[in-house]
């Protein structure tokens, strides 16, 4: 059953997601961060939907379970669009927009094909294990994409603090969530006690970290990426 902490996380997540959207609109950065804004708006709508499903069918119902995992997967795919947009911003001076679009289309096709194959294989038993595995795979693709992007940022000596912090926050989100999914697959017994808290906490982490970046870091702020790589001299 849901406790006060669950509801607090839920409300906080919803409010901060809306806060990020308002912040982007207020600073007139909508076109620059369009995919991010759309993702945040969709995440807030999905939150509302979750509340509706819990009220209507209950937290332990099958309807809520499938709604949660499938909307989570759709949101992850939407987050890929945000990553692609960050790639475009990072490589904007190299005139490789066309290649990035091509690679993005290819990646989406590959993800769709992979998902289709997995669904086709599991069509007779679309069980708990399958949705958890799908979530784990999608989040891991997110980890790989963000890690490659971070590598490109370091290599190209990108200095825009805002872009750097947005990407790093995304990396923390993806890696923590992918790890939780993997642990859940490995040790299902941990789910009710420890692992069930991580996705909602990470769900709040991402909008809070992004909101912090939008409010505290100006678009003109610059940072030397070499200083961020931990190195003991």
């Amino acid at each position: 059953m849901l406790g006060p902490f669950d509801y607090a996380l839920w409300i906080a997540g919803f409010l901060v997601e809306i806060g990020v959207v308002v912040c982007v609109f207020y600073r007139r950065d909508l076109l620059r961060y369009l995919p991010l804004t759309i993702y945040m708006l969709c995440a807030a709508l999905v939150n509302c939907g979750q509340y509706f499903y819990v009220e209507r069918f209950g937290f332990t119902s099958e309807q809520y379970f499938y709604y949660y995992y499938y909307t989570e997967s759709l949101l992850t795919i939407l987050l890929f669009w945000t990553i692609i947009h960050f790639y475009q911003q990072t490589f904007r001076e190299m005139s490789v927009k066309g290649y990035i679009r091509g690679a993005a289309a290819l990646l989406l096709l590959a993800t769709a094909l992979f998902s289709y194959v997995v669904v086709h294989e599991n069509r007779n038993h679309l069980t708990t294990r399958f949705v958890v595995e799908l979530g784990q795979n999608l989040h891991f693709v997110g980890v790989v994409l963000t890690y490659l992007l971070w590598g490109a940022i370091l290599k190209l000596r990108e200095t825009r603090t805002r872009l750097i912090q947005l990407v790093l926050a995304l990396g923390v989100y993806f890696s923590a969530t992918a790890c939780t999914y993997a642990l859940r697959n490995l040790f299902p017994g941990l789910q009710p006690f420890v692992l069930r808290w991580v996705p909602p906490i990470m769900g709040v982490w991402l909008p809070i970290a992004w909101a912090y970046t939008f409010t505290k870091v100006s678009e003109d702020s610059r940072l030397a990426t070499a200083r961020l790589v931990a190195r003991a001299r």
Partner: protein, 137 residues
């Protein structure tokens, strides 16, 4: 099972790298902020440089001030990073002595971050107080 174990190990390694880099980026932004005389006086560092051990005391002071509502997660994240650094420092004393200087410098940056947060919250409290007085009169 094998894939899940591999994903788990890679994710933990990547998570640590992203988390450390994120904290360092937050600290790098705060390092550019000069501390006001007011916060130096309040935190008792008026006549000296901010130290690595000041972090816990500064965070306690931060918690005494009303929350602005937008930096609590970052303070927690930097707090976790500070804890991680302390652990690394403790372990490195036995294994790699050279790392101690680096962790000390990083902890100092954490303390500076906490002082900047305190400064911001004091300003916010003063604004709130001024607003309340103005509303009453």
């Amino acid at each position: 099972m094998m894939a899940a174990a591999l994903i788990c190990v890679i994710s933990v390694a990547v998570f640590l790298q992203f988390f450390v880099s994120y904290c360092r980026s937050v600290l790098a932004v705060s390092r550019k902020v000069e501390l006001s005389d007011r916060v130096r006086e309040v935190s008792g560092i008026a006549n000296r440089n901010i130290g690595a051990d000041d972090f816990a005391r500064l965070v306690q002071l931060v918690r005494l001030c009303p929350e602005q509502g937008d930096d609590a997660t970052e303070i927690r994240a930097v707090g976790a990073y500070y804890g991680l650094l302390r652990m690394v420092k403790y372990l490195s004393t036995f294994l790699v002595p050279g790392v101690g200087t680096w962790t000390e410098r990083e902890c100092q940056s954490c303390s500076h971050f906490a002082a900047v947060a305190l400064d911001r919250r004091i300003s916010y409290s003063r604004d709130l107080f001024t607003q309340q007085v103005a509303d009453r009169t």
